[in-house]
Amino acid sequence: MKTTDRPTEATNSAATSAVGSSPRLLLPLKSQDFDRAHKLESNVSMAMDALWANRLRSLLTALGIIIGVASVIAAFTMTQGVSANVTNTISSLGTNLIFITPGTNNTTSGGGGVSGGSNGTKRSIGSIAPTGITQSLTQGDAQAITDGPTRIPDVAAVSSVISSANQQVISGSQNWITTVQGVNASFLSIHNWSIEEGNWFSSSDDQAGKLVAVLGQTVYQQLFADIGEDPLGKTILIGNAPYRVVGVLPVQGGASNSDNMIYVPFTTALNRLNNSRYVDQILVQVDDPGNVGTVQQAITSLLEQRHRITKGMADDFNLTTSQQLLQTFNQSISLFTALLVGIASISLTVGGIGIMNIMIVSVTERTREIGLRMSLGAGRQDIRNQFLIEALTLSLVGGTIGLLIGLLLGYGITAGLAIPFVITPISLALPFAVSAGIGVIFGFYPAARAARLDPVVALRSL
């Protein structure tokens, strides 16, 4: 070992600061210094640096995920909103209602799919009367359910409904086309509605066939509110007969258009608006939701008897409960959601392939860097984890951006359609989970490729 001279200070000038002083080697490390810090934090910051350095490329790569997640979230909020809207409407009817409608093989149960279901919903909730369907229900049927020897137990109330669409209503100088429904006095309590102004008509009004009317909110707006008139006590002309307005209903909203409706007593409608003795619907309120099934069966046998339907013949009427409506509707929504998920998977797979592609390119570009890291002591796991975390970061950032854009879009659309904006914890958590999964799955192959590089070969490459 040669003897060492401590260098003189004379050689210590600014330009020789490295060389002039005697550089001391660093203190050796102790074994407990090692393996203290987790490499995750450094990996994540290295990944973010790498992605930020190639901002445009990272953005374009993540675009697949962003678009996939955004479109799924936006569509999902829409379906959730529609679903909540309809479900609210159906639920507000109460879970103990049975709708009896005429016609054979109605589309309210099963077969009709989305459009049939929603049409059935609308029909049962009481909007436009079905045309071209064989009439079969009468007021006698309704009375048989509640009175006399054929009375069915557990029935709380019944209302017949006559529906007359496209009626022109005139009030002073205003006119409007709307639907007029003739209903019994029990109709209001069966639906559990409240009256906003004035009163509902009474059963004596009904029996006397009085010319009174209760306005739905839309009709009220069109005929009175727009010109600032108070409707109560005013006379409106329906089919050339004068009716006195006795009440106004509040906004119902929802999936039925009961806001664009005028309600008159059943007998009045029977006498003046209907040209047959048939009714369009019978509404039955069961006292307890648990009894709906038995009441449904009892009504069916009663009506089969009354309509003289023998075994083997199809019924000329249909019974639907709000539970069934909900069920049908949920089936349709599930189908639609499944379709949505399928399309989303395709779009996200494409996004994932984009990520895999770019990661492979990245690995090839950085072969020399990988070789260097290996020479500094990075093991195969370290290299693999580094690239895996890069892919994961890319997909998670894409998923987050997609989620935000999707929520924004969903909010805009649901606000525009006036349906509720529903966010569930699942709809927030799922994009993250799915994006992370995509990052891991599609990032794995490039990361494994990187880890398998031979350091000597890697260092030699350009």
């Binding site: 260098p7 000038s13 490295a18 810090a37 450094s42 020479s375 093991g379």
Partner: protein, 288 residues
């Protein structure tokens, strides 16, 4: 593995061994020597190293039975024409590659047959690399570059920052911690690389043509740093094809056709520091 037993077997075999084709250095023909600084075992013991690999269809026999010992504190220059096996030798020395045959002991560990994971650890904690083309991460600052080996060693953030700063000050770049490689000259970049190589306190520094991409003046500066480190006790193995650079070392080995042709001490090594002080006074305004 019983180190002591293996070592005794090895020294016994040395005593009875016939010299191989290459002319060994004087101390190899005698039983195991205790070297001058009283350390029992040399840092590096290589015995009958062979390496063959396939290049397309041809089998290349890059190393044909190389045996050598390098003691702690040696400064060895490895020379030889291209194709002589010196690069392959360096790769094996640096645990980047494994020998096909033969044994390689580094600081009492037989690294020749270690797994990839173990080799990575050895590279991280016992070896420091300096490359011809610096091999710095272009997007990272000098500090981040120097921290890299410590990240893989799992050192805490505070310790990493402290040691990185120390290492950069050691090579005279204490004012350029946050510079990117693009903002540094070639010489400065190589100094960052040296700092990076030192930061885990390795036992061995391997330099592969460290001055290959530098001009003559900066080469002197880098060699001065290496010599200064050597004076502190660091073992350095330097590959070069330039005899001028090899002259800074204290021992020279020459490869030829996969074998050691010569292994001799350097009689009068150049003093880089002295040369540098002359150069610096000649052009004091140039800050490389």
């Amino acid at each position: 593995m019983n180190i002591n037993k293996d070592m005794r077997k090895y020294t016994a075999s040395l005593a009875s061994a016939e010299p191989d084709g290459a002319t060994p250095g004087a101390h190899q023909a005698t039983p195991h020597v205790v070297n001058a600084d009283n350390q029992e075992r040399p840092l590096i013991i290589i015995h009958q190293l062979h390496k063959t690999y396939l290049l397309g269809q041809t089998r290349v026999h890059a190393l044909r039975g190389v045996s050598i010992e390098i003691s702690r504190g040696d400064f060895v220059a490895v020379r030889g024409p291209s194709g002589s096996g010196k690069t392959t030798f360096m790769n094996i020395l640096g645990c980047l590659d494994r020998p096909s045959q033969g044994s390689y002991w580094l600081a009492n560990h037989e690294v020749g047959q270690m797994s990839n994971q173990q080799l990575a650890r050895v590279r991280n904690r016992m070896i420091g690399f300096v490359f011809q083309n610096f091999n710095l991460l272009s997007r990272a600052t000098a500090m981040s570059n120097v921290e890299l080996p410590m990240i893989y060693a799992g050192l805490s953030k505070e310790l990493r920052t402290q040691r990185a700063r120390q290492a950069l000050q050691l090579v005279g770049l204490g004012t350029r911690l946050d510079h990117l490689p693009a903002q540094l000259s070639g010489g400065q970049q190589q100094r960052v690389a040296v700092a990076r190589a030192l930061v885990n306190s390795p036992s061995l520094l391997l330099a592969d043509e460290p001055t290959g991409n530098l001009d003559s003046r900066t080469s002197v500066e880098i060699m001065a740093i290496l010599q200064a480190l050597h004076e502190q006790g660091l073992t350095i193995v330097l590959v070069t094809h330039e005899p001028d650079i090899a002259a800074y070392a204290t021992r020279q080995i020459v490869f030829h056709d996969g074998r050691l042709l010569r292994d001799e001490p350097v009689s009068a090594p150049r003093d880089a520091r002295a040369e540098w002080s002359v150069l610096a006074t000649q052009n004091p305004d140039e800050d490389y």
